[in-house]
Subunit: 364 residues, 2 copies
């Protein structure tokens, strides 16, 4: 590792891991932000990395290098093509002490960079859920360290985590958290409510770009389970991944199919889900894919919700989180809105970077 | 004025104006907070004032003095009865440079303390809407100064203002804001929806302690108009009070009545409001008291809302705020929950004090 101090007048340099849609949206937002910010508030980008290469400058990447990187990525290329790029393997030797690592990947492997950054007076901003959803012994540091932020891991840019943390710092304590945390599964439930078959709803979600390339990634509920785990741990309940009871929206036998086989057989599930949708409607309710969390554990799966309740009234890919706490007991505190998308996710990450920069300067 | 520095290791001393329900809840929350906080995060209370007297200590009020003050106020007394109290007229000479003035009064008169505090490197936290809702030339400083916070002025503890400010600092821009911002009027609308007469709904709101002693204070809409003005100005639209079009929930002729006369004549309004409630129901909608705000002005009054919309589905005294912005365009960002009450209001104020303390230390 190189420098052992902050660059440019106490500002923590930012190193961005991940140059997918969120990473590129974030870079654009930071460039816009820096145009308007006063000098002490400007964000200094010292490095950016994708899964192949890292582009780094001891002080600050030039506007030209950032523009080159964006152009190369937009054209579907890799950072390897940017002049001055180094192999990704160099990255751990490049990270300066006091840097803020911003992880917008979906990788398990970034932890080996994140933890050393924290122990060297740096900070971490995560849109990547995996470091937070590992076994508690591995993840605990990210929940207890004062220089970690992760707003965008739940509900994208919606102020879910900041609200939760602010309540706790004001002395509130949580009773339960309930939410619709997957835009994809929310959309599928809404479509089935409107009369679509399961297979039709799923194909429509794929067509609109809501679903992962292999939609079983969404349907298995693992991503919602990770969000539930993050909410639980943030509320002060150190649950383990095994404490989350997850209902997938396909039978276990479908896990072993190839993607083509899966797509061919989707329609065989139509009848079952039409029946469940009908059952909910017969009870005057509607089916939603819901996470229910308290100190004893979490349940993630289909749930019958009142039609005129907040979760029942959600349309399409909208997310909602409902906090019941000591302060918000009779009537809960609810936050709802779009919970996915590169722009709002990047906005959530930028908010974290701004907030963390203030706290890190204050702590010096 | 006395000291020209911060007490105790860079911490900004807090001076609390207002010892009503919110002020007392806040003191309890701060005492609880300080028990758990690490030393550099503790909140130092240097002074408290009610409308009669001020209790002040150059360094920090002792636990005993705070306990005495709470006991005296709880018994319906004034701070004058606390040993060492000084006349309120002394307060401006007591405020130290760098202090945080926390205003939880409903007074017009605190401005003469707030502005000097800001010009002497101090900060301001407001639950009091009046300084923010004055003519723009008078109020502007509270929206532009980096050391002013006012979360509790709209939606009590709900994260309305912090979310708005965070979006703007991330480069977002607002298209419109819409909300139900009065628990009292929300409750009256819900009751009328359930079949109650206007006079019955109003009396029930008074019985439950939702309404002011003279309920015309709520019904005239002025408090909602102040909140609308605060939201508009926070969104970057420097509206004047006259730009808010307010519909009162009683005719102008009722303004001149005594409270007793008003109470005697309330029932003469029953038919009109029953008709308006029925009209909404005939259109498949429901009546809500809504603030609609954009850059050109604001409208505050009764509005027909879809039953299964967020505002239409609100029950009882719940508040909701809906932000439409560049980032949140197709689907808005919504925050809802209880928007009044001493505990949640105090929690909103405490969150502001904590946040402001960090920013003030960072700025030194």
């Amino acid at each position: 590792m190189k420098n052992d101090g902050h660059v440019s007048n106490g500002k923590s340099p930012v190193i961005l891991l991940g140059m997918g849609q969120v990473g590129r949206s974030l870079l654009h937002l930071i460039l816009d932000y820096n145009e308007k910010a006063r000098i002490p508030e400007k964000i200094v980008i010292a490095g950016i990395a994708d899964s192949h290469a890292v582009v780094f400058d001891d002080n600050e990447l030039s506007q030209q290098m950032l523009a080159d990187a964006l152009t190369s990525k937009k054209a579907g290329g890799s950072l390897e093509q940017v002049s001055g790029a180094q192999p990704l393997s160099e990255i751990s030797s490049l990270i300066t002490a006091g840097a803020i690592i911003v992880d917008v990947t979906a990788s398990e492997d970034t932890v080996s960079l994140l933890k050393p950054a924290l122990s060297r007076r740096g900070g971490v901003v995560l849109a990547n859920k995996r470091p937070l959803a590992a076994a508690w012994s591995q993840a605990e540091v990210f929940f207890s360290h004062p220089y970690v932020r992760y707003e965008a891991t739940v509900g994208a840019g919606l102020p879910v985590i900041s609200t939760l943390r602010s309540l706790i710092s004001c002395g509130d304590s949580f009773s339960s958290i309930k939410g619709v945390l997957s835009g994809t599964l929310g959309y599928i439930c809404s479509e089935m409510e409107r009369g679509a078959l399961y297979s039709e709803a799923l194909l429509s979600a794929c067509d609109r770009g809501y679903a992962e390339p292999d939609p079983r990634e969404d349907l298995m509920g693992a991503d919602v389970a990770r969000k539930a785990l993050i909410l639980a741990r943030s509320a002060g309940w150190p649950l383990e991944p095994d404490d989350i009871d997850v209902e997938a929206m396909f039978p276990p036998s479908f896990s072993d199919l190839t993607l083509n086989q899966f797509q061919d057989q989707i329609h065989t599930l139509d009848q079952e889900y039409a029946l469940r949708t009908q059952e909910a409607q017969n009870a005057g309710k509607t089916l939603r894919y819901v996470a229910k969390i308290d100190r004893s554990g979490a349940k993630v799966g289909l749930s019958q919700e009142e039609r005129d309740s907040i979760l029942g009234a959600l349309g399409g890919p909208e997310n909602a989180v409902i906090f019941r706490t000591h302060f918000y007991n009779d009537v809960p505190l609810t936050i709802s809105g779009p919970g996915a998308g590169p722009l709002v996710t990047a906005a959530g990450v930028l908010g974290d970077i701004i907030d963390l920069s203030v706290h890190m300067r204050e702590g010096q």
